[in-house]
Amino acid sequence: MNAPRNMLDKIWDDHIVRDFGDNTCLVHVDRAFLHELAAIAFSSLKEAGRPILSPELTFATVDHLLDTYRGRGDATLIPNGADFIRQLRAGARETGVGFFDIDDPEQGIVHVMAPEQGIALPGTIFVCCDSHTSTIGGVGAMAWGIGTTDIEHAMATGCLVQTKPLSMRVRFEGRRPSGVTAKDMILALIGQISADGGNGYAIEYAGEAVEALSIEERLTICNMSIELSARAGFVAPDERTFAFLKEKPYAPKGAQWDAAVDYWRTLSSDTDARFDREVVIDCARLSPQVTWGTSPEHVIGVEDAIPDPSLAPTSREQESRRRAINYMGVSPGQKIAGLSLDAVFIGSCTNSRLNDLREAASILRGRKVAPGLMAICSPGSGETKRRAEAEGIDRIFTEAGFQWREPGCSLCMSGGAGGEAFPEHARVLSSTNRNFENRQGRNVRSHLGSPAMVAASAVAGRITDPRSLA
């Protein structure tokens, strides 16, 4: 009788090409995805005279540097963006990898469009030169971000050398109260186990509250695995996953589909499977979460006050929180709700999918954003944008006073790179994943929350509990 295995064990075992010992293996990569910041991988391989092993398993799109204004082209507000975009395009054309260019109707943020297109599948190893690749675990893949050297390696050899991560299961037990979103669940977990709490682990998200999530919501949870410093995060594929993927353009069809589903059903962790660490979150006690500092672990419930740094357990921790309080221009003991905002943003690989836009629209319908507040929404992909527009969501946003932009990483990334940015020192509430210093513009103070909280706060002009406007 075989020992019980968890989902990580099963995916890992089926991808081992060669075992080097020390828990380190050559593992097969099923999907490699590039964006323009990794354009150099193409020229680098070409110079070395190395072909791409499986061009048909390799894809590329533009999302990081391109502008989100209508009528955008190769030229970007970010300096030299066009160099990256053109080199990516040239490399993709020359090698024949699937490429979603600026004018492609399916162009979008990798982690939004890859599941939408069925390029990301359960039980596959999926890599991309972007840390938020962990998102893809929402469809039951094992997915992680890598650097340029590793993406070249994956392209040339179809494999990566990897140390097997430790396994962690996070069980979200109980039912989440209304007004509490997937974003709040993952932020609460980061607050509980810290931004370093997942380091070295691949996390399987499980429990009643996760099973009840839509695939889009699962993608949001897995997205922020990297904010726990986890290698990967995933949810076992189930009927919802299969229904989500069926008939997607790149998903298997016919007999291949049936064979795939049979295989996918075997991926769930065995009943007696062991994990290196188990964490339980009681969802019934969760409230909408919002960050106050400069790390995603600096997070509290929207009804709470900013914690006193001197209560942190270590002197380094105390120093780190003092720096954050200073940068953010807040005070210990101050209630987070009511902080006055200069701008808001809905977008990014965390929260720019149709369910996110619907959630925000349900609050914005018939309301206006506060006078003087800058409000921007960038849907995650061409498909998401089209479907939202078909439902009239774009009009709800624009009538409320939001700018409705083209798909891309936009203000989650560009503000730190000299592109589209918020004004210096602006206080921003954002549906994104990183509240790091200068991430959304010079000295910009970013708070992270769900799209619902962003919408409610946009209307009030200050950080607001979305349940008060629902």
Partner: protein, 221 residues
């Protein structure tokens, strides 16, 4: 950039006592915008090394005279978390660092550093703190010795600490191996794997086979 072997390093270490230092802080987005793999040293910790007016901040550890020649960085837990930008490893390397010692690293950075001759050393938090204390007390005088084959760090006072790097990565750094060439030694394994896997998981591939490159001819069916 040619790969540099890492065997033994005797050098000054600079203590950066901050937690969760993210790769945006190591190399801000504004500093990484050229299609290149080198020349990023100037952008390292740009917003911390410089004041608002662009002048150097004398209080930042790397600007202190006693740490200007440092080739080892001592850091807090979760060093280089966040964005996968390999430029973070290139910037540290280009600036002159050969080794970073921390209680934990962002996983992506850890992998990137290994491929760029920049040795990431994991030691328990209390040991890193003790080295930081020692280095600060000595005002940068006295060097650390990092020995990769032996997997040891010796502090300026001679205290020896052990660390681990998986064998395959350790040997690759010592021999300055090109990672792709190293893996292509196992091309037979890769071909055999895909032949098996295309039968077991045909749905994961698009069509029977279109593997590129003469070395990778795979028999159909």
């Amino acid at each position: 950039m040619s790969r540099k072997a890492f065997v033994r390093l005797e050098a000054v270490a600079a203590p950066l006592r901050r937690l969760n230092v993210d790769t945006d802080a190591i190399i801000p987005g504004t500093q990484l915008l050229k299609v290149a793999k080198g020349g990023f040293g100037e952008g390292l910790f740009y917003n911390w090394r410089h004041r608002e007016d662009g002048s150097e901040d004398p209080d930042f550890v790397l600007n202190k005279p006693q740490f200007r020649e440092a080739e080892i960085l001592l850091a807090g837990h979760n060093f280089a978390c966040g964005s996968s930008r390999e430029v973070a490893a290139w910037a540290l390397r280009d600036y002159g660092f050969r080794c970073v010692i921390a209680p934990s690293f962002g996983n992506i950075f850890y992998s990137n550093a290994l491929k760029n001759g920049l040795l990431p050393v994991i030691l328990p938090e209390d040991e890193v703190d003790a080295i930081c204390d020692e280095v600060e007390a000595r005002q940068g005088r006295g060097k650390l010795v990092v020995d990769l084959p032996a997997q040891t760090v010796a502090s300026p006072s001679g205290k020896r600490l052990r660390f681990r790097v998986p064998d395959i990565y350790r040997q690759a750094m010592i021999d300055a191996l090109d990672p792709i060439s190293a893996t292509l030694r196992f091309r037979e394994d890769i071909i055999a794997f895909q032949n098996r896997d295309r039968k077991m998981r045909p749905w994961a591939y698009f069509g029977p086979r279109t593997i590129g490159g003469d070395d990778f001819e795979v028999k159909a069916g």
